[in-house]
Amino acid sequence: MTATDPAPTINPATIEIIRNALTSAADEMNATLIRSAYTPIIYEMKDCSVALLDADHRVLGQSAGLPIFLGNLEACTLAIEAQFGREVWRPGDVWIMNDPYITGTHLHDMTVMEPIFSRDEVLLGFATSRAHWLDVGSKDPGGTIDSIDVFQEGLRLAPVKVVDGGQQVESLTQAIGRNSRFFHGAVGDLGAQIACCHTGARRLPEIFERFGTETVLTARDEIFRQSEALERAFIASIPDGDYRAEGTIDNDGIGDEPIGVRVTVTIHGENMLVDLTETDDARPGPVNCGATQAIAAARVAYKLLVDPDSPPNGGSFRTLSVEVREGSMVGAVEPFPVEWYFTPLGLLIDLVVKALSDVIPERAAAASYGDSMVIFVSGVDPETKQPWLHVEPTVGGWGAWNGSDGQDALINNVNGSLKDMPIEVLETKFPLRVRHYGYRTDSSGHGEFRGGVGVSREFELLTDATISTWFERSDTPAWGLAGGGDATGPDVVINPGTENERHALKSANVALKAGDVVRTMTGGGGGFGDPKDRDRDALRTDIATGVISEETARTVYGLED
């Protein structure tokens, strides 16, 4: 069926009820996962995604989870079917996998899937879930900074049945759990993902039984048609042409050279092609990702621009094609390391937006500070001899758009709804003292509408400890649009203002002493429009609030006394 076929004959209310029922079934799967997950990274940071697929692996309903997991769970069920044939699907089985070269993501992300059957054992579809596990047995606790291949990054599972004919496979469960430094967390999260799939496997047949197979399938086609029609109409409104943008990530965590991400977006009638083939080759360090995730990232950008509000389904993204070159950084093959797979993808999303910003300015925004900006601090408690580990991403500035300043101090766009760690919790749990946590003056990209500011956080170590850092986008800080300025990039300084001062944007296992001070700084977001056109009252407010210095107000914004 195509977008131009006439509407079917079933009642439009019935179609809408079925559309909502399918989305709700996915929401219920998500609620089950969040409710029963063991680790906060899933239930608090929502580092997870679920989808309900039809028998042809098309999305019937997806619940909003981690943006970067958008619309690629079907790659996993398709891979299983391609390997074992369609007859492999059996009622009561649940599969698990995390092979990055199939799933596209890193080993932490476990995908769990269950085929769904009707009462008379007809395959109706699949319940799928993906969630980030805290530790999957990488060489360093919780993840790696400098892995040189996937084998250093932890347990890698090809597709395998973890529930067989209704029975959880105890031997495999134990094997998976014992590969994690947090056995209870791993086994608990596995249980939550299985429960999530069971919820989908119960709800979908209920929907088929209530409305009848014929009606559900007709409604499905109409639902897909509606989504497709909306997207086609929007893409058609964009002028045809090739739109390019490129940028770099700083390095791969091992070497020093910047690595290029290059995007060409071609609009042709009702279709969009995102060509990523000119992106640099895969790297020895862990910044690579499988093609599936590169496609997902292109879909995130597409969704941000085309249709941010409605839940995606099998009719979404039909107008989008993505070209990835095998062997490139975003088309990685074994054994290239993938731990920080999202670093080039955050940039890729911003670049697609940039490429189209001239032709759909009302949907676009200048670039954001870009990456998760992660710090690891670890040590051993001198009294209890217990090891401790603190891992935290850092917030930064988002890009301005026509009509509004960008947001200050917000988590990056490929993350879920992550919250920063309170100073009071941080100091209670770890031997640290936070000396300063606040806005970074003048870090935003300037403009008629300014970018958001990044933050600066400075802490003192109260005992000896080790830090690792992953701060990115100093080489391509957030860019401005329409004459707006670029933002200041990130920085990490150890013992600032002393003779031992050194910078460490990316670092692995740096040994520090009690009394040493670490200052992390994130970048701002890009500005929009000429700073000279900034509303003078808004500018004076920026000076009063200390977001922009008086000097910058004079030199960049042309403020006269």
């Binding site: 929401d27 609620a31 909003a64 209870h184 101090a409 919790v425 606040g438 806005y439």
Partner: protein, 680 residues
């Protein structure tokens, strides 16, 4: 002669009052127009509609929206915030999270205090509560000078670790009073929320500072006015926790009264659970434009230890009210040739097409009117007339796009919105780990009982309850509550290392503190009841569960560690579907709640009812078929009446629709019970 217990609840259009006459054992409901400028006028009008002499009152409780309105309309105080040096931006950063994931043009809620209204104060307490650096008094004086010169009207103070050691916040208070006099409004974070997490505690203090002077003035005016009218008993105020406090005590904890109104409905659910024996209830409150859901599980309200108000966190006990984006005002429209209903709402202006205020898109209310389920003449108590023709025209216009007639269109809209509301409730119950089929559905608000039977069918619920005075159910619920005070202290330590003697002492101290507060509100020793609890979690987890603790002494007994661990595991299992007997737990926050019993209504069965006469019979459409349906006046329904659907029951503030396949019965107190006849 004190014979009336009375409650008053302010709504957008009407202020409701419910009075209970201790002599006759009967309730009466009344209302007056809400008076936005001076809310106390409407409140006193509503009271005087029910009771002639305020000297006859034995008990008075009020749910105020004064503070909430000031917040919602952003016309609160001009607040100066004092924060620890180095942490002044915590309130602006607001933990850096975002709630919409695919929004490139995302905006955080606009903070109530700007960065230039924030004054940092040097001085530091450690995580263990020790003073690392003395408070810098000059910084405090500088802030006081800024207060004087900057046109501020209220101060919030939130210093790091004040929950561990409040000395610096108290010292700030003393200095401010010395500089600015003791009439200045100062909100100290540790007094409002003695819990960790500086952003959440700061936000609580800021919300208090933003609304407290306004609420205080209002309470003083109202108390003085009522006393002037002859009221001799204290005024009680509903708190967000579901308990009440005296207006005098509320002065120091005004933030606790912010969500005072909507909570009444949930507390009404608690009373209904007690009166009807249905211990598990899903309460739906549907008005013209809103749809709120609350849950009663095993007779208790569903209370969280934290809430969020338009994205601003509040650290305090709050009865959970879930707002769902569907209601009478939800607009139906087409998108890519498909029907959509909501979440867009027509609101009050232009409102549904049938309001005749210029709305042309059909809404859920229009669909109800077109199918004959609402009498256009008595909508909203007959305050204004609905235009059924406008509803039909709007439905015809949309229907022509979809190949449907007006009635089919109306039925379709209702089918879609009912399915959506039911699905939202189902998702909520999945999150809570409960099965909706085990619950009864309680419907109130003007439109709740119009939809409830259809929601029940979708949720496989067999029983629907429509209480008396569904339009004033929140006010009724307030009559039935207890005094409540809460106290909490951080107690973060693994169970295995916990100093249980210290915990016992902490419980004893906190218990004495809250019990004294309740007694000071005029309750005898015997009527005070203490509840202890501890927030705990598996080590490594972030979220906590609140585990009940029998009393202050039990924690030192030998068997308690094993017992509290077992209780935690059981709670975790019921809430999250799994637990882990091998994983150790840690404590986070110790809590004590004092409840003060003020006695409650002992209603007598309703006696005679007004003669209903012959019912009007109207054609009402159900599932596309017209049914000749009796339209009954609620006041004419005698206790013990039994009727088969379809039937529509009208009363001034609400309409109850009982579809075919349902059978209703009126209980001896006048509540409607409708039961679905299950298919064999």
């Amino acid at each position: 002669m004190s014979r009336y217990r009375i409650s008053m609840d302010i709504g957008g259009t009407f202020t409701d009052a419910v009075a209970y006459d201790e002599e006759t054992g009967q309730y009466q409901a009344g209302k007056a127009s809400t008076t936005p400028g001076t809310l106390s006028v409407g409140v006193r009008n509503a009271m005087s509609n029910l009771v002639d002499d305020l000297g006859d009152l034995s008990f008075v409780v009020h749910g105020t929206t004064q503070g909430l309105n000031a917040f919602l309309q952003r016309r609160g105080e001009k607040v100066l915030l004092m924060a620890s040096a180095g942490a002044g931006d915590v309130y602006q950063i607001a933990r850096g999270n975002r709630t919409k994931l695919y929004e490139i043009q995302y905006r955080k809620p606009e903070p109530l205090v700007t960065r230039s209204d924030t004054y940092e104060v040097r001085g530091r307490i450690s995580s263990g509560g020790d003073e690392i650096e003395a408070l810098n008094e000059d910084d405090v004086r500088a802030a006081a000078a800024a207060f004087r010169d900057g046109g501020y009207t209220s101060i919030a103070v939130a210093l790091l670790f004040s929950y561990e050691n409040p000395a610096h916040e108290l010292q700030v208070m003393e200095l401010l009073e010395a500089e600015l006099g003791d009439q200045v409004s100062v909100s100290l974070s540790h007094r409002l929320a003695r819990e960790w997490r500086e952003y959440e505690r700061t936000s609580t203090a800021v919300l208090d500072a933003y609304t407290a002077p306004i609420v205080r003035t209002y309470l003083e005016e109202l108390s003085a006015g009522l006393a002037g009218d002859g009221m001799e008993v204290p005024l009680h105020i509903m708190q967000s926790s579901g308990g009440i406090i005296t207006a005098t005590a509320a002065r120091d904890y005004t933030v606790q009264t912010l969500l005072s109104g909507p909570v009444g409905g949930a507390m009404g659910g608690v009373s209904l659970a007690r009166l009807t024996g249905h211990r598990n209830l899903i309460c739906v409150d549907m008005g013209g434009t809103s749809f709120d859901v609350s849950l009663i599980v095993d007779g208790e309200a569903d209370v969280s230890t934290e809430a969020s108000l338009e994205g601003f966190p509040l650290l305090m006990p709050v009865v959970n009210i879930y707002t769902i984006g569907a209601g009478g005002g939800s607009v139906a429209y087409t998108e890519a040739g498909g029907l959509r209903v909501g979440p867009r709402s027509a609101g009050a202006a232009p409102g549904p097409a049938c309001y005749g205020r210029g709305g042309t898109e059909p809404t859920v209310t229009d669909a109800n009117v077109a199918l004959g389920r609402v009498d256009p003449n008595v909508f909203a108590g007959g305050e204004f007339q609905l235009d059924a023709d406008l509803a039909t025209t709007a439905l015809e216009t949309l229907g022509s796009e979809l190949g449907l007639g007006a009635r089919e269109m109306a039925q379709g809209i209702l089918d879609v919105v009912n399915a959506k509301m039911a699905q939202a409730i189902r998702t909520l119950t999945v999150e809570k780990g409960i099965e909706p089929g085990d619950f009864a559905l309680v419907a109130f608000g003007g439109a709740g009982a119009m939809h409830a039977a259809f929601l029940a069918e979708e949720l496989e619920i067999d029983t629907m309850i429509v209480p008396r005075f569904p339009g004033a159910f929140s006010a009724w619920g307030m009559l039935e509550t207890q005094l409540r005070r809460d106290a909490a202290r951080n107690f973060p330590v693994p169970l295995a290392q916990a100093d249980r003697q210290a915990l016992s002492t902490l419980y004893t101290d906190l218990g004495a503190e809250v019990a004294a507060q309740i007694r000071s509100e005029g309750v005898g020793e015997d009527a005070v009841h203490l509840r202890y609890a501890i927030d705990a979690r598996y080590i490594g987890q972030e979220y906590t569960l609140t585990v009940p603790v029998a009393d202050a002494e039990v924690v030192t007994t030998e068997g308690w560690p094993a017992a509290v661990k077992a209780s935690f595991d059981a709670l975790h299992h019921s809430r999250f579907g799994h637990s882990n007997a091998d994983a150790p737990i840690e404590f986070v926050i110790a809590r004590v709640t004092a409840l003060g019993d003020l006695g409650r209504a002992e209603p007598k069965p309703l006696d005679a009812v007004t003669d209903a006469g012959d019912p009007v019979v109207r054609s009402v459409s159900f599932d596309g078929t017209d049914h000749q349906t009796p339209i009954l006046d609620r006041d004419g329904l005698a206790p013990g009446s039994q009727l088969d659907g379809p039937v529509v029951i009208a009363e001034p503030t609400a309409t109850t629709v009982v579809p075919p396949g349902w059978r209703l019965e009126v209980d001896s107190y006048g509540s409607i019970f409708a039961r679905r006849e299950t298919e064999e």
